[in-house]
Amino acid sequence: MSRAMSARNMRRNAINNVMLSLTAVCAFVTVSTLFLILGHLVYNGGTSVDINLFTKLPLAPGEPGGGMANAVVGSAEIVFIASLIGLPVGFFAGIYLAEFSGKKFGILVRYAADLLNGVPSIVIGIVAWTLLVLPMHRFSALSGAVALSLMLIPITARGTEQFLLEVPRNMREGALALGANKWRATASVIVPAARKGIMTAMILGVARISGETAPLLFTALNNQFWSSGLNQPTASLPVMIFSRATGPYDDWHRQAWAAGLALLALVLVTNVTARLILSCSGSKGASLSG
């Protein structure tokens, strides 16, 4: 009897050890895969990056050398305009959701924002194409910026709402007790209190759209030269990486690695900075994945 029991316990212990080690293996495999591929990118990008990438224009196809300075500037331009549109809209919509919304309409807007956030980026590109490229009969930086701003709006709105709701109730009540009306309390007490969180959400949103490729493929398109205006096709860093990586020349592949490293560095540095700002403010519990 006791021998049977101990045999059973040994089996249970063995299963316990095997399964727990298996989960450790899972953690090791997933995390090390991600480390490996990033390491690979840093290695390949590091050996192929040069200053020409940021200072020179692309050369004729197949000719080694040259850079993608126009793509760096183009990306900055597109992302800047997208932020000009997307951040204010998202910010004020977030204030509405947190401070003014009635129950039913609030739920509706929240649902719409989450739906918009889940729309595949390539579909956003199609919509921007039908809205701007089709009537204007040309690919343009503006249509790319509108596409990216459509992705930025829901991120900013939900982030703003989340951090406004985290502001303690007694601050709200204090402001109202001092005779401030709702608008005054929101503008001079609640929004400033949630300032760091809102800024973090905005920075993360901008970092996310600056790496997006799919919405730009048939809106901003690409360009081998400096773009002459907002209504012209404009090169961007992610689209340039895509076209260089899928192209036939070795030097293009080298440039793709280098530009990939530059884009990754940009996105990661922004992300780490934004999260550091947030952790300094002591706000907690907000999950910012995505």
């Binding site: 004020f92 579909v123 009306n181 990939g260 994945s289």
Partner: protein, 321 residues
């Protein structure tokens, strides 16, 4: 009487002005909130309107037709829906066991510091642009698959139709693998949060009854966190279905249905990315837009399911196993 009215009136005007400012702020912010609603509706309308030539010509047969021939202007969505679903399922069959296992390790076994550090790292990885995963896939994963993994699979399982055919490097499996890597961060961080939300008593009760650690996890912790884990899977699935760049770079661009996971194929997002700018003719463009509409519906349904799971969990917990 007169004096009291004189005193009272200014405050009432001030009060009115105050509430008018409130109304103004309300209306102002309402405008932007309504804008979100409008934009979302606009997306659906635009997709619907601009896909109408293809919808009118092919009807529901569009979804079932296997033919994709721009030259003869005949279009069907089946190869792309098949490719999209197959690559996503391949990705999840790899990333769900590994991701949930990793989440268990991070929430139940690892020290809080290590767990927090790795989660921070994973959340950073969720921010890596997909074109960068595509870059790594095309130059690293594809040669690896072509030279080692696929010949080995063909050698071992080549007699089944699932692993037959030459080793191209690109194809469903390669796309599935890179999608698996891209969904790791989502599945691990959402599952880990669900596991951490399980009350401590749940574990302690199981351990006090003499359960081993694994038995307490399997019988007391996992059932409690079930809905959260399922929603992480749906979120990963929605992401995999809509993923464009990484898949476009390694899928192989073959608009046909193949049984073998090693053969090149196509996905909805990839065909739109590749052919949209080159599409000539109204019908061709509208067929691509209709594909976009199908993709939109797919991801919206999956996202809604994920959200429903989250709402259910926060309302009742999912303890009833």
């Amino acid at each position: 009487m007169a004096t009291s009215a004189a005193i009272f009136r200014p405050t009432s005007i001030a009060g009115k002005r105050l509430s008018r400012a409130d109304d103004l702020a309300h209306a102002f912010t309402f405008f932007f909130a309504a804008l979100i609603l409008g934009v979302t509706t606009l997306i659906v309308c635009q997709l619907w309107i601009h896909s109408s030539p293809a919808r009118e010509k092919f009807g529901f047969g569009f979804i079932a037709s296997k033919l994709w021939n721009p030259v003869s202007d005949e279009y069907g969505a089946a190869p792309f829906i098949y490719g999209t679903v197959l690559t996503s399922l391949l990705a999840l069959s790899i990333s769900v066991p590994l991701g949930v296992g990793a989440a268990i390790c991070l929430s139940e076994l690892a020290s809080p510091l290590l767990s927090a550090a790795l989660t921070f790292f994973l959340e950073l990885l969720a921010a890596v642009p997909s074109v960068i995963f595509g870059l790594l896939a095309i130059f690293t994963l594809v040669p690896l698959m072509r030279d080692y993994v696929q010949p080995a699979l063909i050698g071992a399982f080549g007699f089944t139709s699932l692993f037959s055919g030459p080793a191209f490097g690109v194809g469903y499996l390669t796309a599935g693998l890179i999608l698996a890597v891209m969904t790791f961060p989502y599945i691990i961080s959402v599952s880990r949060e669900a596991l951490l939300a399980v009350p401590r008593e749940q574990r302690e009760a199981a351990l006090a009854l003499g359960a081993t650690k694994w038995e307490s996890i399997g019988q007391a912790v996992l059932p409690f966190a079930r809905a959260g884990i399922v929603s992480s899977v749906f979120l990963g699935l929605a992401r995999a279905l809509g993923e464009t760049m990484a898949v476009t770079m390694v899928i192989g661009n073959d608009p046909a249905i193949h049984a073998s996971v090693l053969s090149p194929g196509y996905t909805i997002a990839a065909v739109i990315a590749n052919e949209f700018t080159e599409a000539t003719g109204k019908l061709y463009v509208s067929a691509l837009i209709e594909l976009g509409f199908v993709l939109f519906m797919l991801t919206t349904i999956i996202n809604a399911l994920a959200r429903m799971m989250i709402v259910l969990t926060t309302k009742k917990g999912s303890a009833k196993a």
